[in-house]
Amino acid sequence: MAEVVNVRLLKAGDKLQVSHGATVVVVSNPLDGVWIFARYLASPKDPSLEGTEDMIFAQDIIEVLEISGD
């Protein structure tokens, strides 16, 4: 089982692998420890999602792909 991500620590710009094979970039973090506001970068299963913003549930985050620069 992959490391459990503490979503409180995620920042805007971080890239995440999420469920259904999609990748997202964090837009902002409500710091509730449960949800992340993010934008789809890639969503092979449903390409219509690409570029859209959505709330991502903590348990749907598979791993952190990239920590943003700053």
């Binding site: 902002s28 409500p30 509730d32 420890g33 449960v34 949800w35 506001f37 709330m55 549930f57 348990q59």
Partner: protein, 452 residues
């Protein structure tokens, strides 16, 4: 549950013709449960002040009766008041006192609500709910009506309640004494950071009636008068303007609101105050001069404690504050006290007032401490079987009230008692309980809004 027969309270347990009120209404748990429905779900209740939530996403957790509610400002800047309970399993969605957030997320299963109350996050909405849950129907429960009145925020659960200003009626001009800037304009007030909250072991109606106009209990405060904490260095408050004034009680029988006021004789100036601090004294002198100029004859009126039915207490003059008596069971009250200052006042004035407020009011206040002692033991000594058989007396000054009261050309609306010579009266208290009894008996706002 006991059935409600018409008149069980009006002229029953609350017998205002005889000036007697049964102790049952303070100590009986069934009456308390009924009160939660009849009074607290239908009346307008004070929630907080605009200045507490200035920015989008700001929130302040408040209470309506026993219920926790969230006052918040959404992303568009609109204010809302929500029941602080998740629609899925009831968990409190916000266990903080105040803050700023984009969403309220329930820690139990993760349902998440935007600051406009909409349900925006449902974990496994696709996989587990198969998108069948109608999210639009499961937003946070919002109050039926909310109004911002000169910065103060009010709400009611009852869609049939009249608008807040109609609920206030002519009491509005007296409430304004708490909400207008010291110079009589609508320049904004602000809440000093930090709302005092404490518990008193008594029924909530003890403080509510006290602030309605218990002019009789001054003796309780002799110890503070002796040591002197007033802004001018003596007494409790600045009493000079009061010494020159007629002292009146004003009540509104169809609304249940009431207050004390002081009215200066025509043509007389307002006495100086705050002599201890020249900067503060100057500020108030200038403000008062402006107020007198703007308000004309009405400027002769200064405020004194009052009560907006049911549980909001006003302290318009000194120390300027608003208190709410939250019911916490028949035998306990949680007091919340907000302190107000002119938002534009210089720091020295704010600082001076803050220190005065703290030494006067609240559980650390030299004055209010003695009130709490009285309410505590009045309540506890009324709980026994024998004690309950003996109603309280509210006969003081019965039949001396006047309407169409006028003083040197200034007309005072409402029912007025002149206490200047009488010293004291329980007219305002009778008014409070008369309204309370009507709320307890009336099945709906059709009966309660009988002025319509």
């Amino acid at each position: 549950m006991a059935t409600k027969t018409k008149g069980r309270f009006v002229n029953g347990l609350v017998d205002m013709k005889a000036g007697k009120i049964s102790r049952e209404i303070f100590v009986n748990e069934e009456i308390y449960a009924e009160e939660q429905e009849q009074v607290f779900t239908r009346a307008w209740l004070f929630i907080g002040h605009e200045s507490q939530v200035p920015k989008p996403g700001d929130y302040f957790v408040s209470g309506m009766g026993e219920e926790s509610v969230i006052l918040c400002r959404d992303r568009e800047g609109a204010l809302h008041v929500f029941l602080n309970s998740c629609r899925h399993r009831g968990m409190k969605v916000c266990r903080y006192d105040e803050g700023n957030t984009p969403v309220f997320t329930c820690p139990y299963h993760g349902w998440s609500y935007a600051t406009d109350g909409k349900l925006v996050g449902v974990p496994f909405f696709k996989d587990a709910y198969h998108e069948k849950l109608d999210k639009s129907k499961w937003g946070l429960v919002e109050v039926a009506q909310m109004e911002v009145y000169k910065g103060s925020i009010w709400a009611t659960w009852d869609p049939a309640a009249p608008p807040f200003t109609e609920y206030l009626g002519d009491f509005k001009m007296f409430f304004d004494l708490s909400l207008e800037a010291w110079n009589g304009t609508d320049e904004p007030l602000e809440v000093i950071g930090g709302v005092q909250k404490w518990l008193i072991p008594c029924n909530w109606k003890f403080p509510a009636e006290n602030f309605s106009g218990d002019s009789y209990h001054n003796i309780s405060h002799r110890s503070v008068d002796m040591v002197g904490i007033g802004p001018s260095g003596t007494g409790r408050r600045d009493t000079q303007e009061r010494a020159d004034s007629r002292r009146l009680q004003v009540s509104f029988p169809d609304r249940g609101h009431q207050t004390g006021i002081y009215v200066l004789p025509g043509g007389s100036p307002t006495a100086a105050s705050y002599q201890q601090s020249p900067e503060v004294a100057d500020y108030f002198r200038e403000a008062e001069e402006k107020r007198r100029a703007i308000k004309g004859e009405w400027g002769r009126v200064t405020g004194s404690p009052g009560e907006i039915f049911p549980n909001t207490a006003l302290h318009p003059r000194q120390p300027r504050s608003i208190a709410v008596w939250h019911p916490r069971g028949a035998h306990q009250t949680e007091v919340w006290r907000w302190y107000l200052v002119d938002a534009g006042a210089p720091y020295a004035v704010k600082d001076f007032l803050r220190q005065y407020y703290i030494r006067y009011s609240g559980p650390g206040g030299l004055t209010e401490q003695d009130d709490m002692e009285n309410w505590n033991y009045a309540h506890s000594a009324s709980r026994g079987t024998i004690a309950r058989r003996h109603p309280y007396s509210y006969e003081q000054g019965m039949g001396s009230e006047q309407t169409n009261f006028e003083l040197d050309g200034l007309k005072i609306p409402g029912t007025v008692m002149d206490l200047t010579e009488a010293k004291s009266s329980e007219q305002n208290l009778r008014n409070f309980y008369k309204r309370w009894a009507e709320f307890m008996d009336a099945p709906s706002w059709d009966e309660l809004a009988d002025w319509r």
